[in-house]
Symmetry: C2
Subunit: 586 residues, 2 copies
């Protein structure tokens, strides 16, 4: 497996040159944070990702997880890497200082999360779910719940899970049937079976906090009758030490296409004791608290995998000698030219690069908005929240589609060797494929974008996103680039506004195309903006590299936008017309 | 895993209604073959594929192949299914009657091959390679070689392999280093190591015939110094019975992303005895004899997987109840509507269907051309050979890309369950992914199409293909469809002719886009032609189903052609310009 190196130069370019992160922290009154600290965190994060968890990735896939006597074992080295991770405080990056967290801005943590995804997605996934649990308990838990669980979840002494899906309730949580019966002591007895639970059990920590959706007796039908509960694997005693085991067990470990080193479990709750998080019957709303964050984090998985695949393909292309370049012999001293000189291979590499770096720009811009939502004044926070709501399904849906496409190109550049597990390239594609499915399939993201985010609330989320992008465009200095970016923005904004007039089935038919049309448009703007700032960079390769990759993106990838745009207004009739028996000629 | 059913109604529609196969046989003087026999073979082939090998597919992936004491074991049931296959004569379908083959037209065998690919690609692969070996020995072997090996390969008593690739010689066979030293008895001693050898060893038959590329002493460097040898696993005695083991051994079994039930071996030849096939130093030419056939067969693997994935997704979509349809409640008596009513799911299903049935039409049209090449008069055969040469890289490259795209959609329709191995949908994607890589990567197919097939020989292969398609267009009865098809054809033909003027590096830069531009154009013509013939069908669902799917293809998929066309003439400069250090900012 090619060794992973965190793309520090690009990360630093984005944070310092493009986003001007020090100034951004100053504007938010975050005086403890500056460029130096950013670089320190990037460097240390890179060291941990490269040295501690990347080396476990390939072997972890082969070993996978096992269920022995009801307990899960994870691959060799995973637990000790986790102990190093929490000892060094990485788990606490985003946690509240009230519970011993570091309260770092998201713009500092997100690049590290990206690195962890590149290095070892299976390993990262368990930590990511703890972060989601922290958000839920922090926002909706009562004081006692916080006192008991929050510091331990933030430090990483305990991990967290999200127990939502049931065999017949995935996209449609209204169908879920897990039950919660109130006990006399204020706790509840939770019963039901949940599937696809990442980190449902592990051999890393003494306790696991499951956040479980279930129905109270006499709760209304549908999603308005769902409540959220915290159900610990081991019941803590009053003094916080571990007591008896709760009635929570692992039914089985799912056998999956990829992320095999992540223990994805079927979890059984048999009258397990749990505590309400938030209000009764408001579980779905509590869950949505962490939805933006979790969906963005899944998008970041697509980015992480794309970067890892690009790095592998690039180093292979440079080394693999095969045939001569069609434009003329490139390396006469060698038996053949490296395939790096083949135009078709370069096209694949530049496609990987332009999409990966474009997604990184989108992700860091999103992280900057998260900072503003967290630390800005009320109006700023309100505006940022709208931008985040709008961009979340795009980040999740587009970046994970890109993760799979880019990792497939990585295999292709390797030729037959890409299919052999030892090289690690096919694992990246298998690992990536899950990200298009969980936290809401990408079809659900597209529906969320077009129906909830675009068409509702009089287009306020669209307007806020447009305003943010408009500012980015206005800062472009080269007039031709500014004009190009303005055209992309205008085309996208006017098209988006028109879409809000469609009826529900036409919206549903246009959803996926709209998500991709928007993403390719936004990436076009980001590329023009990046290439423009790169002209002031001291790195010669950043200056010319961003300019040339931007040109490649505009010429070869931006036109895909047209394909997605073509059918936005042609309705869903052709989708709905075919009779059932036309599908298989029965 | 959803049960596979051969799509007999579509197959029969294509062969009888669309291609008018009885008339085609009559025109070629093939009096023994008629519609009734076609149906008999389709029905029996379906029975075998569905009952004998499809049930082994899922478990075969889990068991995979193992190397124990130098011998390969394949998954449970694989060997006995093979024995049933050869006992029923399936292996001999295309073999020469001189060696007890059935000499069936390709148009009869190809639908059965498609079924086998849908049912169990790993299993099929070993048989497919025997067919390639038969072609090579039949065309280039001397009489003694034929007498010794051909009947046994055709009956399937022995299998065959193709030993081409070495660790440092894949795409570029000029780099291969295996050696062949002449012995005094007319045989040769072959030494070297080969990788990625499908069916390199198995527990199905007593003997295996390896076709091995190697260099004679003092052979010219490069591809003009490569010879082809037949190297049996067990040396046959003069009477044809099995004698001593040859110096051929399995180094290891490759651990792969998919086709895990196919024993893909590293093969070591340590002075193994072999016999020359064809002339000295003409090994590459001999190999190219079977290249069209083998590449087409790999394309057919993409089709087979696409069909299997579509079937799985369709049956799941009909059963999975989740949410309500945005156009209004569809199944009020149920807790939720089946996802079959979701416009976005229908779009995915129709995409799968339109691409799969379009590729099937292309494959069967190609098979018809193979019949003409084999049985037609000299001029007909010559023309058909040109069409075949042109369409081969399109069939291989496009149909295998579609195999992966369609099987990825199949996973997506399943949501999270698509990622779980038990359902079989993710296996289809993993199995499909190899077909884009072997028998020449799809990048190599694209280069072959644009450089060898299109630009060479004064465009004669293009002209022959255009003529064949023109005839198909002229037969369209509905004037609007005829005009639409003619426009697609004219656009493609004029664009193709212009491309021949490009220089080598611009050709290389445009290759992949040209392959897809051509494929989407040709499928557009085939869809209009199919939908037109379907209007005379007695099956109501064929009539409306082909019309509606054609409309879907023209509206939603044909426009992709524009994206591929956009950059055909913009040169490779943007691909060649970026300096090496711009790729990773070193």
């Amino acid at each position: 497996m090619p060794q992973y190196h965190a793309p520090l130069i690009d990360m630093q370019f984005l944070l310092h040159d493009w986003l001007n992160i020090s100034k951004h922290y100053q504007a938010l009154g975050l005086e403890d944070f500056d460029a130096e600290l950013v670089n320190e965190i990037l460097n240390q994060g890179a060291k941990f990702a490269q040295e501690a968890i990347a080396p476990l990735n390939r072997e972890g896939d082969e070993q996978s997880c096992h269920l022995v006597d009801g307990k899960v074992t994870t691959p060799h080295g995973f637990a000790s890497a986790y102990h190093e991770y929490i000892a060094n405080g990485w788990n606490a990056m985003l946690g509240s200082a009230d519970y011993d967290g570091q309260d770092l801005p998201n713009s500092m943590a997100v690049p590290v999360h990206e690195m962890l995804n590149s290095a070892n997605l299976s390993w990262r996934l368990v930590c990511m779910l703890t972060e989601s649990a922290v958000l839920a308990v922090n926002k909706h838990g009562d004081d006692k719940l916080k006192r008991t669980y929050l510091a331990k979840l933030i430090s990483g002494e305990w991990t967290g899970t999200m127990c939502l899906t049931e065999p017949h309730a995935g996209t449609d949580l209204s169908l879920l049937s897990s039950k919660a019966e109130p006990n006399t002591d204020g706790s509840y007895s939770i019963s039901g079976s949940k599937i696809f639970i990442s980190g449902g059990d592990q051999d890393w920590t003494d306790n696991i906090c499951h956040l479980v959706l279930a129905r109270l007796p006499d709760a209304p039908a549908g999603v308005k009758g769902i409540s959220l509960f915290l159900v610990p694997k081991i019941l803590p005693k009053a003094d916080g030490s571990l007591g008896e085991a709760n009635a929570v067990s692992v039914g089985s470990i799912e056998k999956k296409m990829g992320i095999k080193a992540c223990p994805t479990c079927v979890m059984n709750f048999d009258g397990a004791r749990g505590w309400l998080v938030g209000d009764e019957n408001r579980g779905l709303a509590c869950m949505f608290t962490m939805m933006n964050e979790a969906r963005f984090q899944v998008g970041l998985q697509g980015l992480g995998i794309a970067e890892a695949s690009y790095q592998g393909a690039l180093s292979y292309a440079r080394e693999r000698l095969q045939s001569r370049a069609p434009q003329g012999v490139a390396e006469p001293a060698k038996k053949a030219d490296s395939i790096m000189f083949q135009p078709d291979v370069r096209k694949m590499l530049l496609t990987q690069k332009a999409l990966t770096e474009g997604c990184r720009a989108l992700a860091y811009l999103y992280a900057q908005q998260m900072d503003i939502e967290k630390y800005g004044d009320t109006e700023q926070a309100h505006e940022a929240a709208k931008v985040i709501a709008f961009l979340t399904p795009i980040c999740k849906g587009f970046m994970t589609d890109i993760g799979t496409d880019v990792s497939s190109l990585g295999i292709q550049i390797f030729g037959g060797h890409g299919y052999i597990r030892e090289w690690g390239m096919e694992q990246l594609m298998r690992d990536s494929r899950i990200a298009q499915l969980y936290e809401g399939t990408n079809g659900i993201q597209a529906a969320d974008l077009i129906s909830r985010k675009l068409a509702r609330d009089n287009g306020l989320m669209l307007a806020a996103t447009h305003k943010m992008l408009e500012k980015l465009v206005a800062d472009i200095q080269l007039p031709a680039s500014l004009e190009f970016a303005q055209n992309i923005l205008d085309d996208w904004f006017s098209t988006s506004k028109l879409i809000t007039t469609l009826d529900p089935s036409d919206l549903a038919g246009a959803a996926y195309d709209y998500m991709h049309y928007s993403a390719y448009s936004i990436l076009g703007i980001l590329w023009l903006s990046m290439a423009d700032s790169a002209q002031h960079s001291n790195f010669a390769s950043i200056k010319s590299g961003k300019a040339n990759t931007c040109a490649f993106y505009l010429k070869r990838l931006l036109p895909r936008r047209e394909g997605f745009k073509a059918n936005l207004f042609s309705g869903a009739e052709d989708l709905l017309t075919p009779a059932d028996n036309e599908f298989d000629y029965q």
